[in-house]
C-alpha cells in the first residue's frame, strides 16, 4: 500500500539506438522528473546502457545518496534484465521487489515507427510503472528445503548416466524403468558410431554399476503413476508391475525361460525380428537379472494350464498370485530421461515396409547385425538364410518431411554410414546410401564418412521415391529383387536400382505417451512431443518447472555422447541444489484470503501447476506457495476476489492502469473522467 513516503528514482535506458532511435529518451526522462514529482519521483535520469555496470552503479549511488526507496527502470523486457536491476537494488540495501522494470523497447520502440506517438507511449508506460511501484511491498523469497533423493525416469543411457553421477556423489537415486531391464535402445544396438565400439560392451558395465550401486534403487518393470509436491519436496508414486516372480528368491538362472513352451514375436528388444518366451529376460545381460512373465500371452493366465516355470524353478520364485505394488518415495528433484521411439515406417506406403519382406528398419538391422541377435550377426534376407548381394540404405525416413515429421532426427546420417560399414564388414554386398545431405558434424564424424567412401559404398544423392517389387518389362531378369526408384540428383537422372535388401533409417519420435508424461510431471512438450527445455541455448536440461529436469532424447533427437552430457549437466544442477540444502523461490505468488473464500472451488481445476489445495474440513482453498508460479489464472477466476497475488495485487494493477492513462495518445494530460 502506498504510504505517500515513497522516494522514487526513474531511469530511462537508451539501449544504444534500440530505444533512443525511436523514443526521445531525454524528453521522457525530463517529463518524468517533472510531471511525476507529485507521485514521489525525486530523480529521473536517462543512460545509454542501464544494464551495464555503469548504469547499475547509477541506481546504487542514488539509493545510497538520495535515500530512494523505490526504483523504476524503463528499458527492455523484464525477461531480460529484471534480475539485473533487482540485483543492483539488493546490493544497495533496497529490497529487490521494490524495483519495477517496464518495457519501452519490446512494447514501444520495437513495435512503433511514429516517433512522437512512441515517445508519448513511453511516457505513459513510465507513468504506469511509477504509479505501480508505489503499491509494491518488500518481499522475501520463499526458502524450501531440498530432499537429497532424486527420481530418474527412464533407464536408458541418459537415465543411467544421470543416476550414476548423483549416486557417485553420495546421494540416493530412484531409477524407474518401464521395461523389465534397464539399458534402453542402446542395449539393442550393435556398434556405435564413429568409433564402432560394441554398444553392449560399453553399456553393460554402466548397467551393472547402476544395478549394484548402494545409492541407486532400481524400479524396473515399473511406471510413475502420480507426482505431487514441488521442487525439493516431491512425493512420487511408483507402480511396480507384477513380474509374477519373487524378486528376492530369483537367482537369474534362466530355467523358467528355458522351460517356458510359449513363444511370441519379440516386438520390444528384437524390434519384431525375433521371438522371445513368455517367461523371459529381455536379453542375457539384463539388469536386474530377474525375468518377467508376460501375462497377456501366458498359457496359465489364459487357460489355467502349463505352469512349467513354476515346476522347474529351483528356488520356488514363481508366484502367479503376485500383484502390482505401489511404492511411494520422497525426492527433491526429478530427471526425465524417457528417450525416443522409432518412427513407424509402415506409414510410408511407398517404401513398402511391412509389405515387402526385405525392407527392414534401422532397429531391425541393429538386431540383425548384433552377434547376439536373431541371426547371430549374419546379414541375411527375411528368409533368414540368403545373403544379399546389394543393399540400399535410405536416409530421412519420416524425418525432414512435412507429411510426417518436420525435424531432422540428427543421428540417422551417421547411423546410415555405420550400417554401410557393417554390411561391408559382414558381406560382399554392394552398398548404396540414398541421402539428401550428409550430416556428419560431430567429432570424427566426417572422418568416418571418408572411411565409408574409401570402403567403396556408393552414395546416391536423392531422396528415395519408391521401393517396389513391381518389375517393369525390361527388368524381367531381376525377379525376386526389390527396386529402389530414385533421382540421382547429381547425375540428373531417374534411376531404378535393383537390390536385395533395403534398410530404412527411420526417424526418432517421442514416446507415444509423451504428452501424458508431460502432464504427470507438470512440464510442457512441444507440438512434436519433445520435452521443452527452459532455454534452448542457455539452459538445455532444465524445464520451466522448478525441480524437473530432462536428459537425453526426451528433449529431442541426439546421440549417445549428448545424452550422457545432458545427464551430467542435470546431475550437476541437482547436486548443487542438494548440497545447498535449501532453495529460494520467487515470492511472486497468489494467496487466498480465507475470510473471503466461499469454497466454490472454481479455481481448483484451473491451476496449471496443481498448486491449489482444498481443505475439506474448513471448506477453503489454499495456494501452495512453492508450486505457484504466479500466473494469475486463479486470481482472475475467483468470483469473490478472494485471491490476490503478491507482486500483482489488484491495487498494483489498477494503479498501473491509472498511470498508463495519465496522458492521451498525443501526450496531453488526460482530463479526469467523472466517476
Amino acid at each position: 500500500m502506498s504510504t505517500g513516503q515513497e522516494r522514487i528514482g526513474v531511469y530511462i535506458c537508451h539501449c544504444g539506438s534500440n530505444i533512443a532511435g525511436i523514443v526521445d529518451v531525454a524528453e521522457v526522462s525530463r517529463w518524468a522528473g517533472e510531471a511525476l514529482a507529485s507521485q514521489g519521483v525525486v530523480i529521473s535520469r536517462d543512460d545509454k546502457f542501464m544494464c551495464a555496470s555503469s548504469g547499475q552503479e547509477l541506481i546504487e549511488k542514488d539509493i545510497a545518496e538520495l535515500g530512494l526507496n523505490r526504483v523504476v527502470v524503463a528499458a527492455c523486457s523484464p525477461h531480460m534484465h529484471e534480475k539485473t536491476f533487482r540485483g543492483a537494488c539488493a546490493r544497495a540495501g533496497l529490497n529487490p521487489y521494490l524495483c519495477e522494470l517496464v518495457s519501452i523497447r519490446e512494447h514501444v520502440s520495437w513495435v512503433h515507427t511514429d516517433k512522437a506517438a512512441a515517445t508519448a507511449k513511453a511516457k505513459a508506460v513510465v507513468a504506469g510503472g511509477v504509479f505501480r511501484v508505489k503499491e509494491h511491498a518488500p518481499l522475501e523469497p520463499l526458502r524450501v528445503p531440498i530432499h537429497p533423493a532424486t527420481l530418474v525416469v527412464g533407464g536408458g543411457i541418459a537415465g543411467i548416466s544421470t543416476a550414476l553421477e548423483i549416486a557417485d556423489a553420495g546421494f540416493p537415486v530412484h531409477l524407474v524403468e518401464r521395461q523389465p531391464s534397464i539399458g534402453g535402445h542402446m542395449a539393442q544396438f550393435d556398434k556405435t558410431f564413429p568409433t564402432l565400439d560394441c554398444s553392449a560392451c560399453i553399456l553393460t558395465p554402466k548397467m551393472v554399476e547402476a544395478g549394484t550401486h548402494k545409492n541407486i534403487t532400481l524400479h524396473t518393470w515399473s511406471e510413475v503413476t502420480d507426482v505431487k509436491g514441488y521442487v525439493g519436496n516431491f512425493t512420487v508414486t511408483i507402480k511396480e508391475k507384477a513380474r509374477y516372480i519373487i524378486y528376492d528368491l530369483c537367482t537369474g538362472c534362466g530355467i523358467c525361460q528355458e522351460k517356458c513352451p510359449a513363444k511370441v514375436q519379440d516386438l520390444e528388444f528384437e524390434a519384431g525380428l525375433g521371438y522371445r518366451k513368455v517367461a523371459y529376460m529381455p536379453f542375457p545381460q539384463a539388469v536386474p537379472k530377474v525375468p518377467v512373465i508376460d501375462r497377456d500371452n501366458c498359457t496359465y493366465f489364459s487357460k489355467g494350464t502349463c505352469k512349467a516355470c513354476e515346476k522347474f524353478c529351483p528356488t520356488n520364485a514363481i508366484d502367479f498370485t503376485q500383484e502390482d505394488k505401489e511404492v511411494v518415495v520422497e525426492v527433491g528433484n526429478i530427471v526425465l530421461a524417457t528417450g525416443f521411439e522409432l518412427f513407424d515406417a509402415r506409414r510410408i506406403e511407398q517404401y513398402g515396409y511391412g509389405r515387402l519382406p526385405n525392407v527392414f528398419t534401422s532397429l531391425e538391422f541393429e538386431r540383425m547385425s548384433n552377434a547376439a541377435g536373431p541371426t547371430s550377426g549374419h546379414i541375411v534376407l527375411r528368409d533368414g538364410v540368403t545373403e544379399p548381394k546389394a543393399v540400399g540404405i535410405v536416409h530421412c525416413v519420416g524425418s525432414r518431411d512435412r507429411n510426417y515429421n518436420n525435424y531432422c532426427s540428427a543421428i540417422c546420417c551417421m547411423q546410415s554410414l555405420k550400417f554401410a560399414h557393417l554390411v561391408k564388414e559382414h558381406t560382399d554386398a554392394t552398398v548404396y546410401n540414398f541421402y539428401i545431405d550428409i550430416r556428419a558434424a560431430g567429432k570424427a564424424f566426417d572422418e568416418f564418412y571418408q572411411r565409408v567412401l574409401e570402403e567403396g559404398t556408393v552414395f546416391v544423392r536423392g531422396r528415395v521415391a519408391e521401393v517396389t517389387d513391381a518389375l517393369r518389362p525390361d527388368e524381367a531378369d531381376q525377379a525376386g529383387r526389390i527396386i529402389v526408384q530414385v533421382e540421382d540428383t547429381l547425375a540428373g537422372q531417374q534411376r531404378r536400382i535393383p537390390l536385395d535388401m533395403v534398410i530404412l533409417s527411420a526417424g526418432l519420435e517421442p514416446p507415444a505417451d509423451a504428452k501424458e508424461t508431460g502432464r504427470l510431471f507438470g512440464i510442457s512438450c512441444s507440438s512434436d512431443g519433445w520435452v521443452i527445455e527452459r532455454h534452448p541455448k542457455l539452459d538445455p536440461v532444465a524445464t520451466m518447472t522448478d525441480g524437473v529436469f530432462a536428459a537425453g532424447c526426451a528433449l529431442g533427437p541426439r546421440d549417445i555422447p549428448s545424452s550422457v552430457t545432458n545427464g551430467a549437466a542435470a546431475a550437476a544442477r541437482i547436486l548443487g541444489r542438494i548440497q545447498q540444502k535449501e532453495m529460494a523461490l520467487e515470492p511472486v505468488r497468489a494467496t487466498v484470503d480465507e475470510a473471503r473464500c466461499s469454497g466454490c472451488r472454481i479455481c481448483n481445476d484451473l491451476c496449471p501447476y496443481n498448486a491449489i489445495i482444498f481443505h475439506e474440513d474448513r471448506m477453503v482453498t489454499e495456494v501452495n506457495p512453492a508450486l505457484c508460479q504466479g500466473c494469475g489464472t486463479c486470481v482472475a477466476a475467483c468470483p469473490a476476489g478472494a485471491i490476490s497475488g503478491t507482486g500483482f495485487s489488484d491495487a498494483q494493477i489498477l494503479s498501473q492502469i491509472e498511470g498508463l492513462l495519465m496522458l492521451t495518445a498525443s501526450g496531453e494530460p488526460r482530463k479526469a473522467v467523472p466517476a
Binding site: 530421412c396 525432414r400 539428401i436 544423392r461 536423392g462 531422396r463 521415391a465 540421382d488
Partner: protein, 194 residues
C-alpha cells in the same frame, strides 16, 4: 525480361523469375521451399523422357534460367499424376507449377516442340466453338498435322471405335455457348490485368 548468359557472366534477374512463376500459380505454390531432394524426379513416371527432371527444372527456375526452362520439354512431359506432390517433403504444388510453365512457354513462343501446345489449342478451340470437347475433330486435326505416318497403323483402332459406337461424329453444342464465351473473354481480360 531476358536472362543474359555469357561464358564469364552469370544469369540476371533470378529472383524475379521464381517470383513470377510463383505468383502465376493459384494458392501458395511453396516453390521457394524446395530443398532439391529429388523426390519429384524420383517419382515421376515420365522422367526418363524429360530433358530435365522436375527437380532440375526448379533449380533452373531458381537460378533465373528462364530461356532454358521455357525451352525444356519437361512441363510438357508432365502427366500430372500428382505422385510428386503427395510425396514432396516440402509440400510444393508441383503439377500446378508445371501447368504455369506450360502456359508460359506456349504463350511466349518458346516451346521446344509444337505438338503439345497445338493439341491444347485445338482442344480449346473446340470448347470455344461448342462448349464441349469434340474428340473426332481434335484427333483428326492433330494427327493430320503431327502424326500423319501413324494414321495408317491406327486404322484398325479407328474403325474399331467407329463400329463400336464410341465416336461422336457430330459435336454436341451447349445452349449457353454465348454466355460461356462472355465468361472466358472476361477471364482473359482479368488475367491480363493481373
Amino acid at each position: 525480361m531476358t536472362a543474359t548468359q555469357t561464358i564469364s557472366g552469370t544469369t540476371r534477374g533470378h529472383r524475379n523469375f521464381m517470383a513470377e512463376v510463383a505468383s502465376l500459380t493459384a494458392g501458395d505454390s511453396r516453390l521457394e521451399m524446395c530443398i532439391q531432394c529429388g523426390t519429384c524426379g524420383g517419382s515421376c513416371p515420365s522422367a526418363a523422357d524429360m530433358d530435365h527432371t522436375p527437380r532440375m527444372l526448379f533449380a533452373m527456375v531458381r537460378a533465373g534460367m528462364k530461356e532454358q526452362v521455357l525451352r525444356s520439354n519437361t512441363p510438357f512431359m508432365c502427366v500430372s499424376c500428382y505422385f510428386c506432390a503427395v510425396r514432396c517433403p516440402q509440400e510444393i504444388h508441383i503439377p500446378d507449377v508445371m501447368y504455369v510453365l506450360k502456359a508460359m512457354a506456349t504463350n511466349e513462343g518458346r516451346v521446344p516442340d509444337r505438338t503439345a501446345p497445338d493439341f491444347s489449342r485445338t482442344f480449346v478451340n473446340n470448347i470455344h466453338r461448342y462448349g464441349r470437347s469434340f474428340e473426332v475433330g481434335l484427333v483428326l486435326r492433330h494427327y493430320l498435322r503431327h502424326y500423319l505416318t501413324r494414321l495408317p497403323g491406327m486404322a484398325p483402332m479407328g474403325i474399331g471405335m467407329v463400329t463400336k459406337g464410341r465416336i461422336g461424329f457430330r459435336p454436341h453444342q451447349i445452349k449457353g455457348r454465348d454466355g460461356l464465351r462472355k465468361i472466358l473473354v472476361r477471364a482473359a481480360e482479368l488475367e491480363a490485368e493481373a
